[in-house]
Structure formats: C-alpha cells, structure tokens
Symmetry: C3
Subunit: 440 residues, 3 copies
C-alpha cells in the first residue's frame, strides 16, 4: 500500500481542537469549525435554524454551559471547570438542594473504568445530571447536596463545515467526519484530522475524476441537516466514507456499506487485504456506527463505508485524550482511506485491442523477476489478470471478482495500454438506478 | 406466534369421519365429503366420471366391498368386518380354495409393527389380497383356505369437495387436504380438520385480500381430476398448502415448495423459526409427500408447501386411530398454517415518506423496554428493520432477506405508517411469468 | 458411460509419429501433419508465413537441425543423433571451443529424473544449448569442449492441420490437439490420437447437429495462427476441447472452461462424475494448460475444456515414450470426450405435453426393477427428472441443476417423448451475447 506524505501536522491540529467542548450546537463547536475552515480553502460554514424540520428530525437548540457544581457544606465535590465531561451533555439547568437518593439518580459513572469521567449525553430526552469517576461515589456520604447547573438552551444555528472540491465529473464522493465529542480526541477528532489531510491533498491536484464533498459535522443531526438541505448533493453522490477513532493501536476495522458487496466494499476489502496491516472487516451497522447511518440510510442511499480502530478501552471517557494518539497508526488509517479514493480515481475499464493472450516476449513485457525478485508476485499475477479482462468490468471490479490485488491488476493493464495493446475505457461510478425508490 | 380460537370442534369431526372406509371413490368417501360439506357453507361436491381422461391420468372406477374373509374348516381366520384394513384397498374380487403357498403370496403384514393391521392398497395394478397383523401368520398352519372377497368395481363418479371463498383479488391460495386413508385418523383426516377450521375462519371475515380454494379430495387422482377440469383455478393460483398428520407429538415439518426459496418458503420458514415450536424444514419431495406433487408439478406450477408431523410409528397401520391425536399439537399445526395465510394477507410494500432514519424520539416511537422487557427484542430489531426497507420488496420478503421475525417487521412498519412516516403500497403475489411454460 | 469402438489403431498411429522431431515449424512437423491428413479425409494443411503478424504474436521461422555434438579430444560426449531432445528446441547455431564454465551454462538437466534427457526449448529467447541426463554431468571433467550445433532458421511456413466437418447448424465445436513435443508420446500425441479417432467417428455419421473443426497444431502459436486467420471460425464456435497426456495411469483430469460453470463445464462434470472412473476436476488455467489458453482467451472466447491425466513423472523427458502408453486408459479418455460431444449432440429442451406428473402405470412406463435390479437407479431418478423439467432448460442443463446423471435424464424424457407425453424442443448452443466485447 502506498504511503502518503502528510499535508498537515495532524497531531498539532488535534492538540488545538481537543480541549473545546464540541457538541451538537454551541460556541465551542463553532470555534472548532472555524479553525478547520481556516486550513481548508473554500470551506463553508452553513448553519441550520433551531426548530426547523430536516426529514423526520428537528434541529435542536444550541446549548451553553457557564458553570456547574455539586457542593456539600460549601465544599465542592464536582465542578465542570475541572473537566467538561462532568456535566451530562445537553443537560437541563438545575439549581437546588437535593437528597443523596435524588442526587444518585442524576450521577452517571462507568464501573468498568472507575477512575475516568464517562462521556454522558442526552440530546432529546430532557434530563439534568453529572458524570463522575466511579471511585468518587464513596465521597457522596452526606444526606444533602447543593446542586447548580447553569446551562441554557438558545435558538440559533446548528453549524456544519462543508468543502466542495469539483472534479471532471459531477459525481460526488463524500468524505465525512464528526466534530463533536467534547474533550475527546480519538473519537471523533482523529477522523477529522484524516479528512482534512485528504482534503488538502485532493485540493492540491490539478485533475480529479470525481468531485468531493468534505463534510465535518456534529454527529447524526449534522449530516441530516446538511443533506436534507442539499438534495442536489445527495442526488449526485456515488459513495462516501466516514472516519473516526484511527489513532489507537488496535487493528483497522473496515465497515462495509449497506450494499455489503458493492464497489466501495470491494475496493476497501482489496486495499485492506493487501495492505499488510492488521485489520478486520465488519458489515454495515455491525460494531459502533455513526454518520454512515445517515448517508447510507433508505432514501439517501449514498453507499458509505467506515474506517475505525474501534473498540479501545478509553472509549467515551476522559481517558480518550491526546496521549492516546499514535501518529503512525493515524497515518496508516489515512493511507488506507486515501488509497481507496485514489484507486477509484485511477479505475478504468480495460479493453483489449486484439484477441488472444498478449505476446509478452514480443513487447518486452516479461518482468525480469530472476534479477528482481520483487517482481515475482507481479509476474505470477499475469495469467490471472490476462484472463480476467472481459471488456465490461473495471479494474477494481475485476480485481475483486478474481481475488487479485488491485495494484497488480493496474501494473499489467497500464503496461498493456502503454504498448497500445489495450484501451482504457473511462469508468465513472453511477448511482444505482434503483436508489431513492424506497421513498414514496 | 398467534394462537387462534377454534372455529369447529376438530376432535368431534375426526371421531365422526374416522370409521368410514374412505378411498379414491366409494360410498363411504361420498359420505365423508357430505359431512364436511354440511359444515362448510358454499362447499360443492363435484364428481368426475370413471374412465374419463384427466391430463395423462384416467379416473378409476368406484370400489365397494360387501364382505371378505379367510376360513379354514368353517373357522374364520380373517374377516373384513373386524377391520376395514383387512382387505387390500381396491382389491379384485376372489372366491375359491387356495393352498397355503398361494395364500401367503396374497397376505400383507408389517413385521416392524407385528400387532397392527397394515394399510395396503393397489389402485392401478389388479391384485387381490388381505392385510393382517404379522403375528397372525403363525395361525396359518393349514394346507388349504377358503377365501372370499366380495368386492365390485362400478362406473360412476369420483367425488371431490371444493369451496371457493372470494377475496378482493382473483388471485387464489389453495388449501388442500386428503379425505382418504380408510379407518385412519392422523393420516390424512387431521389435515382435513385443520383445513375446515381455517376455511370457517376465512369465511367469517369481511375482508380477504386473496381468494381461497379449499379442496378436500382423495389423494393424487382427486387433485388431478379437479384441477384438470378447472384450468381457470390453476391459472389464478399463486400458492397452496397441503396439511396432514398434524395430531401426533413429533416436531412440525415444513416442506418447501418446488421453488425451494420462493415467497411461501420464506414465509413458512420465518413463521416456524419464530414459533418457539420444535420443527424441521425439508425440501420439496423430500420426506413423505402427497398432493403438493400434483399442485406443484410442471405445468400446474402452484407453489405449494406442506405441513405435517411425519414420521410417526403408527403410520399406515390400524394403530393410526383417534387415541393418537393430541388436540394441542393439532392446534399448533393449525396456528402455523393460519399464521402463514394471515401474514400473506397482511403483507405490503413499505415505502418511506422521507429520507433518513426515522427520528423515534420525535414521534414517540421509542419502545419503553426498560419498563416492559418484552419490548426489548422489538427494540433491538429497529435498526435491522429501518435499514432493510428498500421500497421494492414486501415485508415478508424483507424479513426473509434480513432474517428478521416478520412480526417484528410489521411492528415497526405499521407504527411508521400510523405516524405517516411510511406508505403501505399494496402487495399482491403474482404467478411467475415463466410458469406454464413447461408445457408445449 | 458408453464405451466406443475404435475407429483407428491409436497405438499404431502413435508408434508411427512418435519418433519425429515435431516442433513449431519444421520438416518433421510437416511430415507428422501429412501422416495425419492421410487418415482424415477432407483435412487441409494450412501454412502461415514466417514473420507475419497474428494478433499480438509473430509467426516464428522454421527450425532445422542437421547435427549437433559436444566433444572432448575427439571423443563424443553428446550427439543429437542419439536423441532429438539433446539439443534445446529452437537452439541457435553455434560452433566453437568453450570452457567448462561456459558449457555448463548451456547444459540443461533435470535432477529429479537424473537418467532421462529433459525436454528443453526456447522459442522466443535466442539461446544455444544442450539437454542431457543429470547423471552425465560427472563426465564433464575437462577444461575445454568442442561444441557444434548445426541448426538453421528458415523463412517459410508454420503449418497446421484442420478438418471441417459440417453439421445441421453452422455452430462449431472445436476439437484441438497439439502435434508438437519432439520424440514424446503421451504429451501431446495421445491427444492427437483421440482427436483423430473422434474425427473419424464424426465423419462416419450421417447426421450431426453441430459442425466440427478438428485442429491439430503446434502448441499456442499454431492455434493463434489458425484462428487469427479464420475469424469466421471463431465467430461460429460455441465450444471446444483440448486433449493430451491421456495414456498414463493417473486419474483423468477435467479442466473447466474460463466460464467455470458453463454448458461444457456442467456436461464434463456430469460425464466424469457418472463415469465410474477415477477423476478430478480443476478450474481453468489451474494445473498444466495448453491451447485452451488460446481458444478460451479474451476476444476469442470459445469456451474450451481440457482433458488430461497430467501430472505423470515422465513428463517433459525422454521417458515419455511409447512404452508408457496404456491403450485402455487412452480409450477411457476418448470415451469421456466422445460422450461429452454425443450428449451435446443429443441434447434438447424437454417440454411436457400435459400438466401434472406423468401417469407411469397408464403408459407402461414403470420400470420393472424388481425383476431387473439394474433399473433401480433409473427408477429412483424418476421423481427428480419429472419435477426438474421446466420447459426452458435443456436436458444437460437440468441434469446439472438437479444433480441427476444426464443419461438417467435422457432415459425418462426419451421414454416420455416416445409416448407423446413430451416434445423435444431443439436446443442449439449459442455464443454468449457478451462475447467478443472484451475487444475495443
């Protein structure tokens, strides 16, 4: 698999954005999006009004928290100033003295990671409450507690970042990542860093076959808001990726699109299988899932794969911080995603210019693997490639059908084309004809 | 699986009909059909003349037996008055004294069930003979025997019962059972009882999507005679069931149609798999088979599944009597068959009214499984159902494709429809376009 | 499987042709083709000029060798007069004294078969050299050797034998074998003997459904040259066979066409599976392969299976001689290939003349397997055959779909046809509509 050169300092970007309390809609979320827009020329911040209807969903109000604490006799037991995760995300405001029994119903902990603050949220059910390390429960021995949560809900905008990078065709590939998950890094900021790095690489190119829509949004409702307001994007989108949790040491997990065995599934599996990296493959919606649930939902139907290293033990806790991130693992994730995109860019339908097996000796195409043993696998793939060509399917499809590394396939068909033995017929992926039919 | 309320006293019906010597065509067969017609308003008795041609078959003559016995020196060894099974069904008449050697060639026994009289028949090869318990052979020590079989073959009619129950569409589902098998109960009368109970339930309904043809006939030739004379029924039939041997304790056996994985196969498998009942599935023509061999034969092509509890040790012997029948097991068989029919009645193509995953919280659709744990499996199926909907396939088909209990699927799509999030597009099963093409 | 009567004395033919130094283009090759033409009425010898372009290939020059030897001090160590394999086939001429070090680079041996002369060739890379038994290397102790290879390359023709046998349709089945492999017999002459025997059998028939093109050519370039100059043959060809290495004792190996599961694959597998002979099946291009690589290449697209007994230990050595050949094994290979052809000739689409299962008793079609136990397997296949008939697929296709011996299928459908219960609709295999599309 190709190793790409960094386009941005991904670690620096993570360090800058990580501390912000990024959520569905808030000032900190907007700040994070502004930082990202500043390094993505052409990126636009688009806002969607609270209360407006997007498909079957409603845009929530913005949430701001000025302070929150639990005190006993003037002594502070919990203060959100210590850690943004201490208050349930989107918590209702509250002020009052409550009994121990009542308070415990409003405390969330994670007994499996007793020293960490778990990430808690309640976007659509109105609750108030705190998150604390499980170990702290033993400190709550008093009968009564003074509780104060100074949160407020405001009408305004839920904001999103989008960057459209035009290509030779109007067909769009969507590169999606989530800006949210306050104070956390692997989830989802590492996916943002990879998306930005890829976006800058695509921007730097003179020629792109496909157009790209880089979309950095709060989870679920962000994608819904953007796509519901941009049906023209949906109608032109032929594929998408979602990336997150790529900075930890576990194996890469490629999650298939809803099609299960479509174009992107074949390509993702081929790239991972020939990457030499530890990896797994999972079906759509199996294992943790995010905005691919929106992009690849009925009626939206953008075949979207996902790339993560989930699970990891620090998931959804205060331990998911910058110290967890391994830049080499993050680069591997970026390389896999960029390879998938680039092989799709390169794909074509190989059409032979004459019948019969190609006369390798006659065209000086015989690879000298005796002198250069690294050519041996390529030589061994000649027969498979030669007899796989059918004049209909693209290189990516043929490589998948015949279990040949897609890079080996290009080695031979590019060489044939150079000797005028083969014509590269353009291949542009289409939206399936039966898509959008699941709507009345 | 839904438990239905009895429409008739199935045990009483079995007790009434069981003693009759029901065969292909005979007075007792006619009596049985008349009894059934009396409790099925609208049912018709149709007769087909002996010797007439039905497809490649010929209607046999009627068979009546007035008496039959084997005697030695005036002492009666066998008398058909003791048990109707003692004479081979459709035996030729015979009178004379025969040697022990000759007689033994005309005696049939079942060594594996030595105390029971086996059921023997020879409809198309002319033979004469008796059936006796294997143990009785030791009584045949004399050199000569006086044998008398007073049977006669008569021209006349082979009769069938049919009840047409019209629905909103002209597409017909055939409910078939066999009236024959003299003196036996599980085989095939239990299937008749279930068919009658279901027929009365269907009759009682104001709305039926499909039309129904309840067909109670002597085995094989009865179905052939009826369908050969009613091509309009064949041409409108989109499915069928055959039921028999449902009153014993063994697991239910669902036998697939000739299509193997067609609409009824998927529905039958889904219902059985989610019934909580011990069951097996078998392919078409594997295991004992009956009139599905006619309904689902080339050129007839009515995809017909079969429901039985075969095998059971008393099969085809005098031990297959009313004491064998367990009413609860019989009701389970009835419930499975009625469920298959009712889920097909209820089936529709779910078409979403907007893109994207449904916003459950926004429509009060979130099942409160914390308070009602029985809702947990339904809640768990939400994601599977939500992302299975494709706007093309019916609920039954989608449930099969995605291995979701069909009742869970209806739970969600019905709820979506109630909130105007989904449109129920009518689904009517068609005969396959390539059916009837196997005829010249 | 049917055993056929020999049309020629295959062993005599092998003995006559074996000693000739048959290669791509040479006098001995021409002599072999002339001998074959003399026993194949209507066969034509067609030549293709050296240097002419055939698809991406170029016709090589003819190669003649007058003498060749290695001497030390007047003593002969190797002389091609001892064995034609001693010189690398298509070796460049050479004359001179060379050091031991240089000579060893031009000697080829097979350490795994140390007493045999290996078959060496270099058709497209210009080299000179000898082949000797590995054991002889110990004789090469001198410092210098007098080497002489009197070979010459001549412009002229590369010759091929072709015999067109017209049938009722213009659709062609190609029977291909290779004339080359100097001094060897199993590889490839046994395939030639089988092809000639079959050709004479086909010629002797008054009626043939398909036309046949028997093609006996030097390996690879011979097929390419012929087919490149006969596009009309390619355009009409619906299948082909390649036969070789059939005279040894190992199991028959049926190698599938590039379609893997097409018409000929199904037929070949059905015949082999029901032949009672030890056999294996391999996919296209797996295991040793020959001219099926040409016939069944992209743009040529003649689905071609191959029948061999490869591997065998004497392969590509001087031990592959007439003593190796077992005439009974050779006949088995011939019988399999002829059976495949004859079942395709016999194939038709069975279409029933009436609905429903056939009334066997009414048409005296019940096989009396109680008297003739050999009929039992046929009787057991009745149900499978009866319910497999679909009015669309041919007997060969249905037999494959339902895993029924194709001969059993014909037993029943022929019998039904004789009783006017079934019509035989003609079945002619077509070239796939998407063939030749892999060319620009």
């Amino acid at each position: 698999m190709k190793c790409y050169t960094d386009q941005i300092d991904m670690m620096a970007l993570l360090r800058e954005i990580a501390p912000l309390t990024r959520t569905l809609a808030s000032n900190d979320t907007d700040t994070a999006l502004d930082i990202l827009a500043s390094i993505l020329p052409g990126a636009k911040i688009k806002g969607f009004s609270s209360g407006s209807k997007v498909w079957s969903w409603t845009i929530p109000r913005r949430w701001e928290l000025s302070s929150a604490s639990i005190k006993v006799d003037g002594k502070t037991l919990v203060d959100v100033a210590w850690n943004p995760l201490h208050v349930i995300n989107y918590s209702q405001p509250f002020k009052g003295t409550v009994s121990r029994e009542v308070l415990l119903q409003h405390l969330r902990t994670n007994p499996e990671r007793p020293q960490a603050v778990p990430f808690s949220f309640s976007f659509y059910e109105p609750v108030w409450g705190f998150s604390i390390p499980h170990e702290w429960l033993s400190l709550f021995t008093s009968d009564n507690y003074e509780v104060e949560i100074n949160s407020r809900f405001e009408d305004g905008y839920l904001n999103t970042l989008s960057l459209f990078i035009p290509g030779e065709t109007e067909k769009i590939f969507v590169v999606c990542a989530n800006v949210c998950h306050p104070a956390q890094v692997n989830d989802s900021l590492t996916g943002v860093a990879v998306a930005v790095d890829i976006a800058r690489r695509l921007l730097a190119r003179k020629i792109r076959k496909y157009s790209y829509l880089v979309m950095i949004v709060p989870e679920t409702i962000g994608s819904i808001a953007f796509l519901a307001n941009h049906p023209e994007i949906v109608n032109q989108s032929i594929g998408g990726s979602f990336s997150e949790m790529l900075g930890t040491v576990g194996p890469l997990v490629g999650k298939r699109t809803r099609q299960t065995n479509g174009y992107w599934d074949k390509l993702l599996e081929n790239v991972l299988s020939n990457s030499g990296l530890p990896h797994e493959l999972a079906n759509f919606l199996k294992s943790a899932c995010n905005d691919e649930k929106v992009l690849d939902s009925p009626g939206v139907d953008i075949p979207t794969f996902s790339l993560t290293r989930y699970p990891y033990p620090e998931y959804h806790t205060s331990d998911d911080n910058i110290d967890l991130i391994d830049i080499d693992r993050l680069r591997e994730g970026r390389d896999v995603l960029q390879s998938v995109i680039d092989l799709a860019e390169r794909d074509y339908i190989p059409v032979l210019n004459q019948p019969g097996p190609v006369f390798l000796s006659g065209y000086d195409l015989y690879p000298n693997w005796r002198d250069d043993p690294s050519l041996l696998p390529l030589w061994k793939s000649f027969i498979d490639v030669m007899y796989a060509i059918d004049g209909f399917h693209s290189v990516v499809e043929l490589a998948a059908m015949h279990h040949i590394p897609v890079s080996h396939f290009f080695y031979w068909t590019d060489a044939f084309a150079e000797k005028s033995l083969l014509t590269k017929r353009p291949f542009i992926l289409s939206r399936m004809v039966d898509q959008r039919k699941n709507l009345a």
